[in-house]
């Protein structure tokens, strides 16, 4: 304990900047590269799944059900005899669709609410934030569960359910940004030279406010996919020809003792995606908001 502490003191006190630099270079940099590669692979499989998948994802090899991973079936086959590797590749598309569209809706709805509340302040702020707080008292997946049940099962409704439940988070972050930025000197300066309120919002505040939103959105991608998986587990998912990862994992969980590969690979795909997106999100945060990472 003592030794270690001494050592860290030696490194840190005199050469603060260099230590920062090495921090970034060693673990973070490598992991960011790995994460980017993972995301790239996922993106490619979502866009051009048939380039990578050895089989059509819907073909059922009924003579080869629950076959363990082998050269022929990299990730084995599921209980329909479908190739799990091909399913994971093809499933990336809907998983990304769920994640990206839920986040987009969340940002597009939550962002402006938060921005207006923060920028205008006063009664608007009070009303908007009260609504947001009300939404927040019903925790994420529960709200999604209720909405999914209310709207009925379909991919769009699942996306909506997840999106609505993520709106409060975005609104809150955006509002916080607004409040802190509008007090900054350069905003006051442009106001004093007679720039209109809308212009200030558009040209000075928004560009400075979007970075934490971006970070949050990145991480939100991951949690949207996790929420989707949770809904599948609770029986409110959608049955599609090509299931998304959450649905695959949820189907495979009952086969863990007889065919571990069925749940494990889609599960790892989710985990790898969320992991990668979080690493990238962290790095984005560092890059976009150097202040935060260096400490105030």
């Amino acid at each position: 304990m003592k030794n270690v502490a001494n050592e860290s003191r030696v490194v840190q006190i005199p050469k603060l900047n260099i230590s920062k630099f090495t921090t970034r270079f060693s673990f973070s940099t490598i992991s960011v590269y790995v994460a980017l590669i993972v995301l790239l692979c996922i993106l490619v499989s979502a866009l051009f799944p048939s380039w990578l998948a050895p089989y059509a994802p819907t073909v059922m090899h009924t003579d080869r059900i629950l076959v363990a991973p082998s050269a022929k079936h990299l990730f084995g086959t599921d209980y329909f005899g479908r190739d799990v590797f091909s399913l994971v590749i093809h499933g990336s598309r809907d998983s990304l669709i769920i994640g990206v569209s839920a986040v987009l809706i969340g940002v597009v709805v939550g962002g402006p609410i938060g921005a207006l509340a923060g920028y205008i302040g006063g009664i608007v702020d009070v009303i908007f934030m009260r609504i947001i707080e009300i939404l927040m008292t019903i925790p994420g997946i529960l709200l999604a569960l209720a909405i999914a049940a209310a709207l009925g099962p379909s991919l769009i409704n699942i996306v909506l359910a997840i999106a609505i439940s993520s709106v409060p988070g975005y609104a809150r972050v955006m509002r916080g940004q607004m409040i802190s930025i509008k007090k900054r000197p350069y905003v006051a300066a442009s106001r004093s030279i007679g720039t209109s309120g809308g212009r200030i919002l558009l040209w000075h505040i928004l560009p400075n406010a979007w970075s934490p939103m971006l970070v949050m959105a990145t991480i939100g991608l991951g949690s949207a996919i996790l929420t989707g998986a949770g809904l599948s587990f609770l029986g409110l998912g959608v049955i599609k020809e090509i299931p998304d990862w959450g649905a695959l994992l949820s189907q495979g969980r009952n086969y863990l003792t007889v065919g571990w590969w069925m749940a494990t690979f889609p599960g790892l795909a989710i985990t790898a995606f969320v992991l990668a997106i979080n690493i990238v999100g962290d790095r984005l945060q560092d890059l976009l908001n150097p202040k935060m990472s260096r400490g105030r």
Binding site: M1, K2, V4, A5, N6, S8, R9, Q12, I13, L16, T22, T23, S26, F27, R130, I131, E133, I134, L135, M136, T137, I138, P139, G140, I141, L142, L145, A146, I147, A149, A150, G152, G222, L226, A229, G230, F233, L234, G235, G246, L249, S250, R253, L256, T257, A263, G267, I270, T271, A272, F273, V274, L275, N278, I279, S293, R294, G295, R296
Partner: protein
């Protein structure tokens, strides 16, 4: 004085939030397709009149606002209505299941804090060493795995294979271990990241450097000063995370066959048992709001600067 009025403010806004969530949920349920009455009768043998009568009897034929007003006034008198499925009163039902869920939530938070803070501190101290890398990977796994998956894996490993811990049920401490790990793992990952980041920041700050320069032992510097400051963001996370935890019980209680309001509400949503959904959400909202009030108060206790700043 200022503290008191601030607390009052927070309290009243909390009340409004809870009331608002009641209206919101009532509305969502009202919007749900399908008729709860249909799930209560045998469709092939019940006459249309009987169904209409049942609907009237349950007051489901009236407009939204009338139904809500009625519900609200009787709720104020402590009457949360009856389950449409089992016709048992809702309040006792919730009060029976709430303790198990609160217990699980509590142990999960404790697990998340203990693991999250410990690993976060370790990670910050051994910054960039293999321990740090390992710890951060563990943390990232925590927030990247669907809980039902990690839960089932824990069951297969520790209950079925090793037979160390109970596989199901909610009586006794032993049954809490695996569910708390599965549920708290996510929180541990979040807290770990927060603690690490803020520890690292604090460690580089001027006052720590000063303390070090003064010759204070490293241990005192770390734990009394650095950690204390690093805890603040961790507490914020808990306030935000409590909602996820409560919602997470929906999944975890099913996986581990535990009692609790998570399972109650999941069932109720599938059967459109309005009074039950309504009641459970109400209590979850209360817990959420209360915890966040406590978080707010604890800020000012831990860090006097915040009290002044606001």
């Amino acid at each position: 004085m200022a503290v008191l009025s601030r607390a009052l403010m927070r309290f009243s806004s909390a009340l409004i939030s809870i009331l608002g969530s009641l209206v919101l949920v009532f509305f969502i349920i009202y919007m749900m397709p399908g008729d709860p009455v249909l799930s209560m009768v045998d469709p092939s043998t019940t006459s249309p009149e009987a169904i209409d009568n049942l609907r009237k009897e349950l007051g489901l034929d009236r407009p939204f606002y009338v139904q809500f007003f009625e519900y609200f006034t009787s709720m104020l008198q402590g009457d949360f209505g009856q389950s449409l499925v089992t016709s048992e009163p809702v309040l006792p039902k919730i009060l029976m299941h709430l303790p198990a869920t609160l217990m699980l939530t509590l142990t999960s938070i404790i697990f998340a804090i203990v693991i999250g803070v410990t690993l976060g501190v370790l990670s910050a101290i051994y910054r960039n060493r293999w321990i740090d890398v390992l710890v951060r990977m563990i943390g990232l796994f925590g927030i990247s795995m669907p809980t039902f998956w990690s839960g089932i894996l824990l069951i297969l490993i520790f209950s079925v294979h090793l037979n160390w811990l109970p596989i199901m049920g909610s009586d006794g401490w032993a049954t809490l271990v695996l569910p708390s790990i599965a549920l708290g793992f996510v929180g541990a990952g979040l807290i770990l990241r927060m603690v690490r980041t803020s520890m690292v920041e604090v460690m580089d700050e001027q006052f720590i450097l000063t303390l070090r320069a003064k010759g204070l032992s490293e241990r005192i510097v770390m734990f009394r000063h650095a950690l204390r400051n690093a805890l603040i963001p961790a507490i914020t996370i808990i306030g935000m995370y409590i909602g996820d935890l409560l919602a997470g019980t929906v999944v975890i209680e099913t996986v581990f066959s535990r009692q609790g309001i998570g399972r109650v509400i999941a069932d109720a949503i599938l059967t459109k048992d309005m009074p039950v959904i309504q009641g459970v959400i109400f209590f979850i909202a209360i817990v959420y709001v209360t915890v966040n009030l406590l978080v707010d108060i604890s800020y000012s206790l831990i860090d006097p600067r915040i009290r002044r700043a606001r």
